[in-house]
Each structure stands twice: as structure tokens, then as C-alpha cells.
Subunit: 346 residues, 4 copies
């Protein structure tokens, strides 16, 4: 079986990465490749790294163009996926890399995005408990945000095994591609090289309710998060440093062993989550280009906290790779098909 | 009055930065410039950016060479300052950029550094309450670590005004020069460019007891810290993202205003701490080369936490600039003399 | 004497750097600071690194605002300086960092800039033979382009001493700030980090006729240049690698010594050009923030060519520092006043 | 058929990249993976990005360990390949990524490497005229140096079609991984970030005789080169800017068209060389991780020169990818098998 796929929003970074991964996916044939303002241009002009697809022409993003594919990937600004998806039939799997359908809580959506909630689709993080059952055979999938992917994978075993209290403090550094390809002054190379800065401080970042949603789902109780994203001088990668107070039951000398056991059990069979050997710490550089999430954990007995760190490539495991992984699950392909686990380093 | 200064450890990054600042300090004349393995070489070979001092010859680091200067700056690996300082008389101001004399608690020293404690010198962070009185006329000064400088300046007003609970969570990103000039595989350009990674996770970093010491001194009670340093792909800069739970008295709608007022009051007269206007966030890129610390603060009401962020140049305000500032205070010069507040950006 | 200066175009990179240098210039007082679209904003918002000037308000760029200063620095897009300068009286020194008045050859101007030539001002590269005489007391000065500064300083002694044939091949790498602060897709951090690319290949870059003009002036005959600029993943700096065929008289064994002697003689008394000791090569990192040009030269006997390399900070020696140096010369101040020679490294 | 391969020198950058490519090569099974000082360690410690091979143990580099594989890739310091290869039988294809067997001219070898010449193997640049015939069925292959690959592909059509004179001027920028993983002070991240510098200026770089050899082979006459390599602040990539004087026959108005036609013809059927559409220029960022060489060419009529630019990933097309491509040719596999053409960008 060959899955015929389309990519909408192919002129952006997420769209480009979808094409890179899909082009080497052995079960996939690339159909329509669409964009808004770049429609009509050769893909090679817009995404010069995609040599194998350079002569493709970008078509306009519309339901007419996208219809008829087995799977459609949407890599569009939030708000644009909903109207488009409505016009695609059930025979087409729609995988949305945008935010429109990620949140269950409509009021949280409106508070953070300022518009009416479009609905909720099955949430495309296969590593979440129960998620694969939801995704198998699904016709619509909401791919998680890049930060929520990194943070959830870092903290999930801690909440699943009730190691920590339900308030987490998260500081995450992201490469600049996480901010997209829209041209903004603070994203100029001259500004970002050699500089780190925070943004959305104090709970303002739109991924905050998604973090709360994921961690609460795992914990079985409401988890609050203090989330500070920072912009780092690198094109790709997220390093999420997450901590929470250890529950009293984990204050003893054996805490580190019990914590490690919980993490090992959680990720023993995950193809794309790699709990590193003790003493080795995640680095974003070693997951660039791959769908791998590196995870490590430490007990800080003086501070009484568990510190969980993950590293992902925001464009792969954090977006396009996660999307392809979901397509694989939804369509009954091997989950790992077409997805690199080795990073491109140095 | 011209102060005749010597710099020991002039082949490293801290030593080079001391020379850069001292060379343009109007009250200073540079005397001996010393190194260990580079002794005998021209400074221009070792520090090619110091054009104005290129023809100086590095002398060996010894008490004989350093003696007789008005002020001696030590930029040496920890453990080397104590024996050297002992052989310098009281007529010489010794400013130690290393860790030897920073900690009051001898057991904390031994736990983190694995050697007997050499003693405690006046702590060279003039912005700490009471510090200027201690430093004025002092003959020995321990310059703070780079992370403690950044973190203390971010959190000090919060603890001084009792805004937050006594446990803080700190994640800080440092440029690679913070790791010094010793050649280690993980510091190769190929490894660090495009990558972020944590180290010393779970309370292991040697700056942890210094953080505890500073924040406890300000708070008047024991403050515990969870500190995670990360290595960022930039040569210079520290971005410290710090948070702590707001005390119940600061849970109301007016919390943000009261917090801001506390920070404004704390830093109104500080020449090198710049509380940014509301809505503007620190960036390391804008303090490179300067002795300025940028600080900003936000209340996260959902998480019930105060988030305090600072940015410094680890080699300037975090080391060499802080050291010169201390010399100025100790010797009765204007505190700001010879210290740039404008950064070199972009 | 205190010189009262104004900076027009203070929201850009060149304007920001002018302010950084002028703020620490002991003979200068900063008057009006102007911008176009940012007029009315606080300087601290637009140039967050200029802590010492953060509370200044940007005024609109107009002759009325600029008039009455002793010196006015123009850091404007080409084409905007001429009309403005015309409205400023002779009592004001106007130093133009733009291209409008650099070229002598009106047809070259029109060919490369597509507009009528505005005229020619004294050319502000004091190191050129005879230039200081022209600049002393001048009321109008055209600051060289950043590439021409780097290239001319690399090749000048070779042409002055008739070491090489009159056609030069130049490949220069520039940091992204050389492209200015205007927001363009290819200047996004995500695009430039980790990437090098050429532009204006084949003679199309607007600095080409200026290179020809300078080298021909030195050589006393028409010099043709093949100039390829490249964009490098760094915020600042130009590395110019220049070569030309050695004249037959320099083909012997003593060529290297004679070449070195020519370069040493040329730069023996220059405060801002540093011919490096044999064996040491320029690096842009070591001149960042300084007005220093590093120069080195090698004879390639197999290829029969002389290779001359220079490194400058494009925003300092290549623009703002060069401009301040010219002001110093024009107004009879010490040429080096207020200009750092030590770089900010690492 | 599955080819059983071994990689010697797997702890270095070239070795790591060989493993990354071979791990996803559908016709290959990875056998022994060897190193010197890292022998006995888990691969995951040394190459943390190779998640799929993390649990492999590094064996010592010795003929005993390497023997018995269908193909052995050597990624060793120069001088180490020859003795090892001698002890491997003819039934094993040996692909040497080092310099030992690249040069035909023994005296050039000795002059540049200071040791006796070990011999000459078939030269593994399949794009060279006649090369594929030599490589098909070969038992020993010398993979070209990274700079020679980039430069030869940029200039080859110009010399094949006799467009230019036989002396070329080449300035090439390389990412730091080109300098290998050996720990040297000038390769520290703090030193290289934000800085560009030349090295081996004046004909001293060891790739110079290889450049001469390749271009002379294509031109059918002795070509001299002036080659200046520069170190750029990026982990990967080579941008080669090459030029030579146009022959008189190409001085006319139709020169650009005739040049373009020559380049189009040369590369029409090459799977890994991509002549970009007119107006688009190579960038190293767009070939990272891929075996693609981007090439573009321009006529500079004023300077009378042809400017040819190429961009490659030094570790892929410049080393490991080129090596795998050669293995494919030698063993009769499809030349493109297992080799990505799409880059990882941004």
C-alpha cells in the first residue's frame, strides 16, 4: 500500500520538514504541495534544501487541491485549519500540525487564542497512555505543540508514577525555527545569534494550557505549570528543563533508584523516546533531524525536587516527525516507518 | 591617583576580560600580567583581541611578580588563590575571581570542592544589602561566581521584600566562556554550536551553595534552591530564569504592582542593574561587553509564582567587571569608573 | 572643547554603533538622536543594549532637528543623505555613513545605484595616502563602505609598493549586521545560522566600483577587481581574503621579506591597523567591538600570488568607528580619541 | 545482497557520519565498529546522536577485527590507513576517507605530508571524467578530501570545456567539523563562534596538491591554484568560491549562455550535483546532512573572470557520503542507494 499525501503550508518550516520526511518515507507518495503567497513558485526556490522535490510547483492551499489524497498534513497558522478540514471528507486522514484542535477546554482556547474554539481532535502524542488506541483508525489528528511534546515526555513518567506534586516548573529553550518563518525583527540573525531571551513569561505562552492538559491527563488530577520559554541561538531543538517537588514517599535514600525504575518502565518499549544511561544528559544537537526524544532525570535531595530534562528537534518529534508518526499509527503502518532515530551531528 | 594593578591568570578568558576593562580604566595602570604555561609568550599571541597590550610579555604567576602592586586580580583555577594571596602583604588589595573565599560555610565548601576551606573574604557583590560597607577599604575581596551574580540580582528584591517562599527554582543558560578556556571535548565548537544541554543537574553545580548563601542572607531565613545550569551556543552571557511561589499576601490583583514597586525601589540607584520597563525582557545579546545586569519580573497568577529573569555578560558583570567594580569601591574610586554600561550589539 | 553631535538613523545597526562609540567618547556630547518610523519611541526599546541612553527619545529625522550640532552623523539608506545634507549649513560637519558621496565616477554611481549622482565628498579612509590632509578641516565626509575598508587596508601596501599586478581577486565574508536591520527572509536567524552563501556574485555588488576606485588611487593605474561577498553566520565582522599576481620582480626567494617590509612600513604608524606578527592570522572574533583592522600577508610562490587578509568589525572600523575617526581628524582631535582598539573576545 | 561493512575510526566525526548513513542504507548491514582510545566504550557515549546504534560496543581498530567484512571504511588520521589496508585481503573493499592514497605525485605527497608516499588508489570522485569506470569493481578507493570535492565540482565544467585559463583562485569556508574531533584550543566553541579566520594561507594547506591534481586531470594541462581555506562559525559545510580568467573566446556577450550550457551539460545526469537555476546561489545550510553539491556560476565581464561556487556538507558529500557513493559504484549497487539528497534545513 502506498499512501498518497498532500502537504498544505509547504513554504514554512514545518511544511518543509514534513516534505523532507515524507520524501524518504517508503510507504508514501507525495501528491499536492500547497502554499498561500508562494503558490505558483517552484518548491526549489522556496525550500532550496529539498533537492529531490525542487521542480515541484506549489499549488494554492484549498480544499479542492487537497481533496482526494489519503492523508493531508496541515502546517498552517492557527485558525486556518478548521475551515479547510471541514471541507475535506472522512475518507481523508487530516493531520493538523496547528493548534486549532489540540485543546479540550474551549474556554482555555478562547482565553489564549482569542477566538471561538473549533473543537477537539484525537491528540497525536502516541506515547501518552491510551493515545495509540485513540489514534488507530482516526480520521483527524491534532499534532501536539513542540513545547508540549518535549515537556510531556520529560515529565510523564513522574506523574504517571505519582512521584511528584502537581505543580511543575518548566523552563524550555527553543531554536528559532520554532517561531516560524514569518519575518519579524527580533528573529533576524543579527539579533538572535549570541543571545538568549525569554518570552511569554508569567503564563502567557499559548502552549501553557496544553501542558496543563497533558500533565493533568497523566496525573489524574489538575497539574499547574509555571512555563517560561526562551529563544536560543540555534535553528532547531528544544531543551526542556522541568522540575516538581517530590512526594514525601520519595524523600528517602532509594528515591533515585525508584525514580529511575519508573522512567525505565515507562519508556522501555517506546521507539522514539530514549531514556539516556545514568550520567548522560540530553543535548539538542544530538537529536537534530531525528524523531528521537532524549530524556534524563535526577533527584535533588537538598531541594526536594525531581528534575526531568528532555531534548527534541522541534521540527521533527516536535512537529513533522510527530505528525508522520501519527499517520503511521492511524493508517496501521509500522509506527517507526520512514522516521529517522539517528540525529545529524555534529 | 593611579592604581597600579596586576592580573594573574591573564591567558584565560576572565584574565583577558580583566585586561580589556583595566586597559580603558582611567584610574588604572597595568603592571604585571602573568600566566602559568603561557609565561614568556607575548600577550598578543594568547589574547589576539588585546591589540593595545599585544607586546606585553606574560610573566610567571608568582608572589614575587605580583607583589608591590596596589591591586592584584587573581583569575586562577580554584585552590590556587589561597596560597598566593597568603604571600601578598596587606598593602595590596587582592581581588579573587576564583571560588576559594566565597563561601562562609566551610562544610559546604568541602562538600562541593572536596578540599579544606581556605577561609572567607568580603563578598564582592556591591548590590547586596550592606555589601558596600564591607567592601569599602577591604584588602581582600571574593568576587561572586557568574551564576550567583545573575541569580542573586534577579531574585534579591523578591526575597528582600518577602514576596516569595524560601525555595527557588532556577534554570540558567550560560555561554561557553563560562566553562573557561581549558580544552575539553564537549566544548569544541562543533559540539556546542546548534546545541543546548544541561549539566550539574540535581544540585551538583558548585555555585549551588553560593546561591543558597546569597539568597538566605537577603531573606533572613534559609532559602533552598533547585539549580540547573545549561550550556548555550553562544560565547558569552547568562540568562537566569528564576521563580518561587508567591507568599499568600501577594495573591491578589494588585500583586503585579506591588512586585514592580519592590523591584523599582531595590534598583533605583544601582548603576549597573537595569530593571527593564514593563513588557521588555532581558536578552544576553544586549549586555555583551557591558557591566549591566538587565532584570525583569512577572507574576504568574495561575501558577502562583513570581518569575524573575536576569541577563548579564558572564565575563563582565559576572566576573571581570564585577571585580573592577569591587576594586573601585574598595579603593574609594567612583564605583562606575572604567566600566561600560552599553553592550556591544548586535 | 566638547563636540555636540547628532545621529540620524539611530534605530539601525550603524546608528546604534555610532551611539555606543560616541557615548564613551570623552570629547563628545550627544544631542539629537533621530529615526524615521521609530521616531517618538524610547531609544531603550529600539536599542536595548544602549543602557546609558535608554531614556532618550528618538526624534524625527529632519534638517530642523539636526541643524545646530557641531557634527551630524548620517546612517541612512542610500539616497537619503544628499537632500538632508543640502539643508545643513557649513558650520556643521556632516559625516555620511551611506554611499551617496563615496564615488568620484558619476557613471559608475548610476550604473550601480540606478539614480543620478549626488556628488563626491572627501573620502573618509584616513589610512589612504593623502587622505588625512583632505579630511583635516573638511565639512563633509563620505565614510567608506565596510567591504572597501577591509579590502583597501588588506591590499593597499601591495599596490602602493607595486608588488602586484593590477587585477585583484577578493572573497570576503561578512556578518549579518552588514546587511542592515531591514527585515528580509534570508536574514532570519533560522536561515543564516549554520549557513554560508555568496551574493552579488560576478561583479554585481555595489561596493565593487568603490574597491576599484580605492585600489586604482593607490596603484596609480586602473585596478580591476573580481569581488565576491559572502554572508557568514555571525552578527559582526568582515574577513577579506584578497590576492593578486606578484610582479616578476617579486618572484625570487626574497619576495616574502620584501613584501613584509612593505607592509611594515605602510602600517608602522597607523593607530588602527595592526599588521600581525608573521604566522598569526586575522580573525574577525578578535576585532569585534574595536576599531582595529588586523592585516596579514603571505607569498604563494607556487601560484605566483600575494595573498592579503584583513579582519575588521564591519560596524566599527567598517562604519561607525571609521566615521568617528574621521570626525576626530576633521575637527583636529586626536585621531584615536574615544575609539577602542581592544576587541571584545571571546 | 546485503553488504557487511565495518567502520574504523568510528569515534570521530567522519566515522560517526559513515555510521549515520550506513545505518539507513538499505543494502548494508553494519558489522564491526572500531576506535583507538575509545575502544571498549558504548557507541552511545561517544556518538550520542546515533540512537539506533547506541548499544554497540567500540572494538579496537585492528586488521583482525576488520577482516572478513565485504567493505571496510577507514576514517583514520593520515598515515594509519596504509599499514592497516595492507593486512586486509583483496576480498574486502577498502574505502579510505584519509589522505594516504589520494595523490599520484609521490613528491607532492612527501612535500605536504612529510613522510614517504604509500601509493595511489583509484580516486573516489565519481563525477570526474572516467572515474566511474575506474571505481566499478575496484577493491581499494581513496575518497577525496572535502575541499577538493567542493572545488573540483565547482570548477570541473569550466576546465572540461576549456572556458578558463589554467590558474584558479579559490577561497573556501569550512565548518569546524572539517578540522576533526581532536581537541585543539582554536577549535573551542568560545573561539570559533562569531569568528572567521583563514589558515594554511599561501599554498600551505595539504589539499592544495590534490586540487592541482584534479583540475589538471580535467583540463588536460597543468592548472595552478591559489587556495585559501577559512574556518567558519558553523559545524558543517563548505562554501567554495572559485574563479579563473576567462579565455578570450569567452569574452563576448554570449559568454554567460555558453558557460551555462557547459555547466548544464556537465551535470545533467549527475544524481548528486545540482546546478541551481540562474539567479539562485548555493548555501551550505541547504545541503547539511545530504550528499548534494549545489553549484552555480557567473561571468564577471568587468573582471574578465568566471566565478564558480559550490556548497557541500563536508561530512557527507565531502567525506562519508562520497565514500558510500563510491562503495555503491564499486559493488554495482545503484549509485544513489542510501544517500539523502534533501538537506536538513533550517
Amino acid at each position: 500500500m502506498t499512501v498518497r499525501v498532500a502537504v498544505a503550508g509547504a513554504s514554512g518550516y514545518a511544511g518543509g520538514e514534513l516534505l523532507r520526511l515524507l520524501a524518504s518515507h517508503p510507504g508514501v507518495e507525495i501528491g499536492a504541495v500547497t502554499a498561500h503567497s508562494s503558490a505558483g513558485r517552484r518548491l526549489g526556490e522556496v525550500q532550496p534544501h529539498l533537492a529531490a522535490l525542487a521542480d515541484r510547483t506549489l499549488e494554492p492551499t484549498s480544499a479542492d487541491v487537497l481533496r482526494g489524497h489519503d492523508a493531508v498534513f496541515l502546517a498552517l497558522p492557527h485558525g486556518e485549519s478548521a475551515p479547510l478540514a471541514r471541507r475535506l471528507g472522512d475518507e481523508t486522514l487530516v493531520v493538523d500540525c496547528g493548534a486549532d484542535f489540540r485543546l479540550v477546554d474551549a474556554s482555555a482556547w478562547t482565553r489564549f487564542y482569542g477566538s471561538p474554539h473549533a473543537g477537539t481532535w484525537p491528540y497525536g502524542l502516541p506515547e501518552l497512555p491510551g493515545a495509540r488506541d485513540e489514534l488507530r483508525g482516526a480520521g483527524r489528528i491534532a499534532v501536539p505543540g513542540c513545547y508540549p511534546t518535549a515537556v510531556t515526555l520529560a515529565l510523564m513518567p513522574a506523574y504517571a508514577a505519582r512521584l511528584v506534586e502537581p505543580d511543575a516548573v518548566i523552563v524550555a529553550a527553543s531554536g528559532t525555527s520554532g517561531a516560524g518563518r514569518a519575518v519579524k525583527p527580533h528573529l533576524l540573525g543579527s539579533e538572535v545569534m549570541g543571545s538568549m531571551s525569554p518570552y511569554g513569561v508569567g503564563g502567557g505562552h499559548r502552549h501553557t494550557p496544553e501542558l496543563t492538559q497533558n500533565l493533568s491527563r497523566v496525573a489524574g488530577e489538575r497539574v499547574t505549570v509555571s512555563f517560561t520559554p526562551t529563544l536560543a541561538p540555534m535553528p532547531r531543538g528544544i531543551l526542556a528543563t522541568c522540575s516538581a517537588r517530590l512526594r514525601p514517599a520519595f524523600s528517602g535514600e532509594d528515591a533515585a533508584d525508584r525514580v529511575r525504575a519508573a522512567f525505565e518502565e515507562a519508556y522501555a518499549d517506546e521507539p522514539f523516546v530514549r531514556l539516556l544511561p545514568a550520567g548522560q544528559w540530553p543535548s539538542t544537537g544530538s537529536v537534530v533531524g531525528s524523531n528521537t526524544a532524549q530524556v534524563q532525570v535526577a533527584v535533588d535531595r537538598d531541594a526536594g525536587r525531581l528534575v526531568c530534562v528532555s531534548a527534541i528537534d522541534n521540527l521533527v518529534k516536535g512537529t513533522a516527525g510527530g505528525a508522520v508518526q501519527c499517520m503511521n499509527v492511524a493508517l496501521g503502518l509500522p509506527e517507526w516507518l520512514g522516521l529517522p532515530t539517528n540525529g545529524v551531528a555534529p
